[in-house]
């Protein structure tokens, strides 16, 4: 190993690339200095040989570092130019599609004077069912297979209406509140089913609330989501927590009402549930139904979001293979 030649090479190099080549030749895993280290065992004075070699390695490293500060400033400037050019190499981040949907709805409801709300994921049977007019052994519980934490009292909330029950118990009317809510049901995960659902719900309690307010507000929401030409019908539907109950159906986007596989032949797609809040529900929250009336509606966000973003596998929404294409110029 000719030390002087090495030092000469480093000091005379003119480009960063050549300097990098020298660095690898000397300090790389298969480099000259590592090869010298393998001779320690056969050296006459291994201890001294190792110490000298370490000193030399340190010297070379410092020399290369020093040289790198002066070599080929033009190349460094070019790289800087790329970094600082209008074409930004830095990414713009993206919101999750469900968040984008939730935000669109939040913005709509905020413009109508609504607050946004939240509630616990681990719920009690009382708030998830009892206060929503679904007593134990009610057949409506069959529609929502629960994941229990401590059966029968604690479970993962099966419906965003549990947040409504919390809201009614905690706040004094009048109020207008909307909220997204992740809900959980005991279902196997596959391409079209998941145990996690994303729902959105709105609740209003005030004097003189009528179905006209409910249907008008829902229609505005559907037009915001689907555009002004969307056709939605409102029909009688049963949910234990409301009376009268209202079911919005959207005309099938695929067949426009004639019936197809997407809508299972109905020509319409069920979009959720709603109604005037059942007097029992208000009463259980300490709100006098003779003074106050309210409406509530809820809908699932997963299917709509999947359709908008052309996602075919529901598992994509929660981890896995959802990715965001980097921003283009």
């Amino acid at each position: 190993m000719d030390i002087n030649k090495i030092i000469d090479q480093i000091t005379t190099v003119t480009s960063s690339e050549d300097l990098e080549k020298i660095r690898i030749e000397l300090l790389g895993r298969q480099g000259t200095i590592n090869q010298e280290f393998s001779k320690i065992k056969t050296a006459p004075n291994p201890k001294q040989f190792g110490a000298d070699l370490n000193n030399f390695k340190k010297q070379i490293k410092e020399l290369i570092l020093e040289k790198s500060k002066t070599v080929s400033s033009e190349t460094r400037n070019l790289k800087l130019e790329i970094k600082n050019s209008d074409f930004s190499l830095s990414k713009i981040g993206h919101l999750h599609p469900i968040t984008q949907t939730e935000r669109a709805l939040n913005e709509l409801f905020k413009s109508l004077g609504f607050s946004i709300y939240d509630g616990p994921v681990i719920e009690t049977d009382e708030y998830n069912f009892e206060r929503l007019n679904v007593p134990k052994n009610h057949p409506a519980r069959d529609m929502q297979d629960s994941i229990f934490i401590r059966e029968p009292q604690y479970l993962l909330r099966t419906q965003a209406s549990a947040i409504e029950a919390r809201l009614l118990a905690a706040e004094k009317p009048p109020f207008k509140v909307a909220f997204p809510g992740t809900t959980y049901r005991n279902e196997k995960v596959n391409k079209s089913n998941h145990f996690v659902f994303h729902q959105y719900q709105a609740v209003v309690v005030d004097h003189d609330i009528a179905m006209r307010d409910l249907i008008g507000t829902m229609d505005l929401m559907f037009k915001t989501l689907y555009g002004p030409d969307v056709v939605v019908r409102y029909r009688c539907k049963y949910y234990p927590e409301v009376e009268p109950g209202v079911g919005p159906d959207m005309q099938c986007f695929n067949c426009h009402g004639t019936g197809c596989g997407v809508c299972k032949g109905a020509g319409w797609i069920e979009m959720g549930g709603s109604g005037l809040i059942h007097p029992n529900v208000l009463q259980k929250a300490g709100i006098d139904p003779k003074i106050w009336r309210g409406f509530a509606f809820g809908m699932g966000l997963d299917r709509w979001t999947m359709a908008k973003y052309k996602i075919t596998d529901i598992r994509t929404l929660l981890g896995g293979n959802l990715a965001y294409k980097p921003n283009s110029l």
Binding site: E74, H96, Y117, R212, E243
Partner: protein, 603 residues
């Protein structure tokens, strides 16, 4: 539930509408009708019946609704008065809290035969196999009135039927010879020595066959909770069980049961050989509901004439005296003034309520919790810093701290039993996925709940988890977030991952931040293939022009990302070399490589 139009027309002979209209009308009044189909000159509807309308799990209940909607008289079968002989059936009921009403009778000298074609066809439309006339008639009546009934071959069962809660049988063999393991407390019909039937499912021990000449037929209504619990315990669902789990009407039994007897005598030529056994210890107490006929207008927000309201209720069978309304016994779902109001509005028509009058935008006090504002703000800051948002499962395979982890008791996704205690667990799973798809240089975050328990209390907090492939940049970005929030952050760091509990932060989110823009996301169905290319130029280039140029040469369907990763000026040759890194997707390796070689003239 299936509905055969010709059968419905026996109850509503003047039914004036086309099938399409009937489908839509049924749906609008609350009986969602998926579709109808024409089979062998019959029109068959497919309906979803609401769980509170057990009465509509039969043609009779549906016809009652439609008779109001179309203002048609309901025509019931002409049933002759029956003469019952002296013999009293030795039936005993010990399950007194579970049995609401039973009617039973013995019929002898039967000639049971294969069912006539009309009956076979009717059952086929309801996806029930034909067995023989006697059995098929019990099913026919069940579909007609929504009330299950059962026939026992008394040559096998004897007459000493006993309605009891199981106390000593461990097994029960069903009609299809499945053996079910029983437990005490299940409602059963037995004789003194043998289990004969469950409340919702017949048994092999007394099965009706073509050789049956004597039978006891019965129709009953039970405590629906008992039936539901039994059905769930035995993991067995039947048409009878589906009905008996609902609130059924004991007072409809005489009509339905008489119809069954008449049909058996007509088709099997037997004679009634016992008195009518009628166990009905406690007649239904019907509610008297105070009703203001203005309420339908008030609740709907549109004018509905009082006369219309009262007329609808009367047509439904309600008795109106002064301001009190007594609904018919078949309508178990009507208990409140709001229920009566819904009845009026649904027949007036939901479609008459305007859709263009949303609630006013009056501003009420903002009760939005601060944490919501914080999480939304943090999302905007992080997307501005280039992070993508992910969402993940809240269940994990392994606990972080076994002492505080919360475990689910019954998740069918049993390989994920724990509620996550850290978002880093979720981020690592996501990173594995991105690695699998070879996503170039991912940087992402999640805001979600993490869970733990302490002293028997369940705790959940909002947490922020971050990943960056460059740990130095991750630290710099957390510092930037800290400055935006005007608060020191103390993240828990694990290499390229960091986590910050948001609930605990005292922050100021008044700093302005550009809201995140909406972008499309993509479902990765194939790996991203990343390839490099060096291109030499005689002079310095504008990198934007270069990117634009090469982007335009690659199909947008294939191009995931293109960046310049390096540039080098060779002073000896005075050439400028630009290094491009291109990521392709939606294609295989071969397509990516051939595209790459062609675009960069590397062939």
């Amino acid at each position: 539930m299936k509905l055969v139009l010709s059968e419905l027309k026996k109850l509503l002979p003047g039914l004036p509408v086309e099938p399409q209209q009937l489908r839509d009308d049924l749906t609008m009044i609350g009986h969602f009708t998926n579709f109808y189909e024409k089979i062998d000159d019959e029109i068959i509807f497919d309906l979803d019946i609401k769980v509170n309308r057990g009465d509509c799990l039969g043609y009779y209940g549906l016809a009652r609704d439609l008779s109001v909607l179309y203002n048609l008289p309901l025509v019931l079968p002409n049933l002759p008065q029956l003469n019952f002989p002296e013999y009293k059936l030795p039936i005993l009921v010990t399950a007194k809290n579970e049995v609401k009403r039973i009617q039973a009778v013995k019929i002898s000298n039967l000639k049971n035969i294969p069912s006539p074609d009309w009956l076979k066809k009717f059952l086929e439309f309801h996806q029930i196999n034909s067995i023989n006339t006697l059995v098929d008639l019990t099913n026919y009546i069940m579909f007609l009135y929504g009330l299950p009934c059962h026939a026992f071959d008394t040559a096998k069962s004897g007459d000493n039927l006993l309605w009891e809660l199981n106390s000593h049988y461990s097994e029960f063999v069903t009609l299809d010879q499945t053996t079910l393991k029983l437990k005490p407390g299940i409602l059963m019909v037995n004789n003194p020595t043998t289990p004969l039937s469950l409340s919702f499912l017949g048994g092999q021990a007394c099965a009706i066959g073509l050789k049956t000449t004597e039978t006891i037929i019965e129709m009953a209504v039970y405590d629906r909770t008992r039936v539901r619990l039994d059905s769930r315990f035995l993991k067995t669902t039947t048409e009878a069980g589906t009905r008996l789990e609902k609130d059924l009407d004991s007072d409809t039994i005489p009509l339905a049961f008489s119809h069954l007897i008449k049909l058996i005598i007509d088709l099997c030529h037997g004679q009634v050989s016992s008195q009518l056994f009628d166990y009905y210890p406690e007649a239904i107490a019907l509610p008297k509901i105070k009703f203001d006929p203005q309420k339908p207008s008030v609740y709907s927000g549109i004018d509905i004439p009082v006369d219309f309201s009262l007329n609808v209720l009367q047509q439904l069978g309600c008795i109106i005296q002064n301001e009190l309304v007594t609904p018919p016994s078949i309508r178990k779902d009507i208990t409140l003034e709001e229920d009566l109001t819904e009845e009026v509005i649904r027949f007036w028509g939901y479609q008459k309520i305007p859709t263009n009058q949303p609630i006013s935008n009056t501003i009420l006090p903002d009760i939005t919790p601060k944490i919501i504002y914080l999480t939304e703000y943090v999302k905007d800051v992080l997307t501005n810093l280039g992070y993508d948002e992910i969402r993940s499962w809240p269940l994990t395979q392994k606990p972080v701290d076994p002492n505080t982890v919360i475990t689910t008791q019954n998740s069918i996704n049993s390989e994920y039993p724990y509620l996550r205690q850290s978002l880093v667990q979720s981020l690592k799973v996501q990173l594995d996925q991105y690695d699998r798809y070879k996503l170039p240089a991912p940087q992402f975050f999640e805001i979600g709940k993490i869970f733990s328990q302490k002293d028997g209390q369940y705790l959940e907090k909002y947490s922020l988890g971050l990943y960056h492939s460059n740990s130095g940049q991750l630290s710099a970005d957390i510092q930037a977030l800290s400055e935006k929030l005007n608060a020191p952050l103390s993240p828990l760091s694990d290499g390229n991952f960091s986590e910050i509990i948001l609930d605990d932060l005292k922050v100021d989110i008044s700093n302005s931040i550009a809201p995140a823009q909406n972008y499309h996301s993509y479902e990765l169905t194939s790996q991203i293939i990343t390839l490099d290319a060096n291109v030499n130029y005689d002079s310095k280039q504008n990198p934007v022009d270069l990117i634009n140029h090469y982007s335009s040469l690659i199909s947008p369907d294939l191009l995931w990302q293109i960046v310049i990763t390096d540039v080098y000026h060779d002073q000896k040759t005075n050439k400028y070399r630009y290094t491009f890194r291109v990521s392709y997707y939606n294609c295989d390796d071969k397509t990516a490589k051939s595209t790459h070689l062609s675009v960069f003239n590397l062939l």
